[in-house]
Symmetry: D2
C-alpha cells in the first residue's frame, strides 16, 4: 500500500488534485494506494497531538496509524515561502518516530505557481526524511507553473514532460 500525502491544508488545493492524478498513474501500474489529505487533519493537532500529547488525539491517531502501516509514500509538496508548507512538517513532527520512517521509501513531487517548482522544498524534505532514516528516490519532479501545465477541471497533467516524469517516478517507486 502506497500512501500519497497531499502536503497542504489549503482548501481545494492543487496538491490534492495532483494526489488524485498520481493515484491514477499508480492504478495503471496495479499498485494499490490511499490519499492522506492534510486539510482533513484536526485543526488543533499541532497543540493536541504532539510532544507530551503524542498519541492522545484519537482523530490524529487514525492518520498516525496509516503512516505507520505504510512502507512507501508519495509526498505532493507545494512551494510556500521558498520551502514546504509548515503544516506538512508539523504533520511529520506528530508521527511516531522512528517506526514511521526507518528503512521506508518515498517519492517527492514539487509544485509551484512560480518558476522554481519547489526545488528547495524538496531539498529540505530530503534532509528531513534522510535524518529520519527514510530513503528518498533520486528523481524528484519539480512541476513549475503548475496552473499552466494541468487541466484543473479534468484533473489531468497537460505538459507531456511532467507526465513522463511522474510516470517514470511512479514506476521507480513501485520497484524501489
Amino acid at each position: 500500500m502506497i500512501t500519497i500525502i497531499s502536503g497542504t491544508n489549503r482548501s481545494n488545493a492543487l496538491s490534492l488534485k495532483l494526489s488524485r492524478i498520481y493515484q491514477k498513474f499508480l492504478n495503471n501500474l496495479d499498485a494499490p494506494s490511499q490519499i492522506i489529505d492534510l486539510s482533513e487533519l484536526p485543526p488543533d493537532f499541532a497543540f493536541s497531538a504532539l510532544y507530551e500529547q503524542s498519541g492522545r488525539n484519537k482523530l490524529f491517531n487514525v492518520f498516525r496509524q496509516q503512516m505507520k502501516d505504510s512502507d512507501k509514500f508519495v509526498y505532493i509538496v507545494p512551494e510556500y515561502n521558498g520551502s514546504f508548507p509548515g503544516i506538512l512538517k508539523t504533520f511529520i513532527d506528530g508521527l511516531e518516530f522512528p517506526v514511521s520512517f526507518q528503512n521506508k521509501k518515498c517519492a517527492l513531487v514539487g509544485l509551484s505557481a512560480g518558476v522554481q517548482g519547489a526545488g528547495l522544498a524538496l531539498s529540505h524534505l530530503t534532509d528531513i526524511f534522510n535524518y529520519c532514516g527514510m530513503h528518498v528516490l533520486a528523481l524528484k519532479p519539480k512541476l513549475a507553473q503548475i496552473e499552466e501545465n494541468m487541466d484543473v477541471e479534468k484533473e489531468e497533467i497537460t505538459n507531456p514532460l511532467y507526465k513522463e516524469l511522474i510516470e517514470m517516478q511512479a514506476r521507480q517507486l513501485v520497484a524501489f
Copy 2:
C-alpha cells in the same frame, strides 16, 4: 524593537528559556526587545488564519502585527526531525507577505539535545528568509547538547563558548 521568536509550541520549552536569556544579552546592549512565544498561538491558527482566512483570526492578528512592526528578529530554533519545528514554518506561512520580511534583518540560533545544534534547520530557514527578502546574519550559533550547557533553573548558559557566540551575535544584530 527586536522581536525574539521562541520557535516551538512545546510547553516549558528550552527555546523559551533561551529567548529570555537572549533578551538579557540584548538588555545589556540597551536594545529593547519583546518575545513571541509560539506556544501562545491560537491552537487552530493553521486552519483559521492562513490562505483565504488570512487576516481573519483576531488573536493571530496580534502576532501578525508585532511581526509586521518589527525590523529585526532573533529566531530561537530547536531541532525537530532534522530541521525546524513545523509550527515555526506555519507561523511564517501566516504572516503578511512580503511586508513582514522584505529588507528586514534576523539572527538565527539553533539548539538541540543531540550533537548537531540544528545546523540543517538553520540552513533551511536561511533559504526561506532569503526567499522572503530578509537578510540573515552570517553567524548562527549552533547550541548542541543544550541541556548539558545551560543551567535550566537559573536560565543561564554555562558553556563559555556558547555565551561568547550569542553575545557576539547580539552585538552584530544591533549593528546590522
Copy 3:
C-alpha cells in the same frame, strides 16, 4: 572596490560575459569593480596552492590578495550538476581564512541553461559563505534558460525581469 567572480574556468563562459554585464550595472552606480575570471587560474592550483602549499603559488597569490583586499563581492554562478562548479569551491578553499570572508558582504547570481537557475547552487554557497562569516544579500537572481534571455554577442540581458533583478541587487550591494 567590488570584486566580481566569474565562477567557472570553462572557456568563453557565459558567466564571464555576465560578469562584464554586471560590471556595467555597477559602473552606472559609480561603483568601482574588478573581475576575477577563474579560467585564468594556474591550472594546477588545486595541487600547488592549497593545504600545506597554501601561499606558495605566486600566480595564485595574486588572486588571493585581490580577494583579501576586497570587502564586497559578486559571485556569478553557473549550475553544474545541480550545484556550483567544483572549481569555484576549490578557489574558495584556496583563500586565506577567515580574513578573506569575515564580516564581508556578497551578492550571488545564478545562471543555467535549464529551468532551475542554479537555485540549489546559491543555497549551498550561502551555507558556505555564512559558515565563513560573510553576509549574503537575500536577493539572489536565478537566471534560468540564460541563453534565451541574453544577447550573447552584444553582451546584454534581454529579459526585462532579469535586468530589473540585477539592477536592484547591484544597488542593494552598493548600499549593503
Copy 4:
C-alpha cells in the same frame, strides 16, 4: 564492485585512512571494493579534462572509467569551509553524465575536525547526486572531531558509536 572515493587531494588525508578502514568493513561482508584517491588525480585535470576537453585526458580517463563501471559508491567527505572539498565536486564535474550516476547507489560519510561532522557537506552532496539520478542511502554518519575518535597510526576507529554506524551503513549499502 564498490568504489570508495577519498574525497580530498590533501596529502596524508584522514579521508584516505578512513577509506581504507571502510574497505575493511566491506571485506568483512565479502563485498569487493576499490579506492579512488583524489590526491592521485592529474594536477591540472580541472583544466585538461572538463568541458570541451572532456575525455581527452588519458590519465583522468582511467578514473572516469572506474566510476562508469561501478554501481555502488562510498564517498568519504571531509568538511572544508562548511561543505565538501571543491576538488571532489570538480572530480564529479569531470565524470561522464548521466551514465556515471543514473540509477546507481551511494553511501556518504562525513568527517570533520570540528563538531559538525560535515553535515551540510552531506546535504549538499545529496542534492547533487539526486540531481544526477543517483540514490543516496538515508544513513549518513557524521564523524565529528575525527582525530579524537580514531587511532590514526593503527587506522582504526576507536569511537564505538562511529564504528557501529559505519558497520550498519556498509551492510545497508551491500543490500541497497
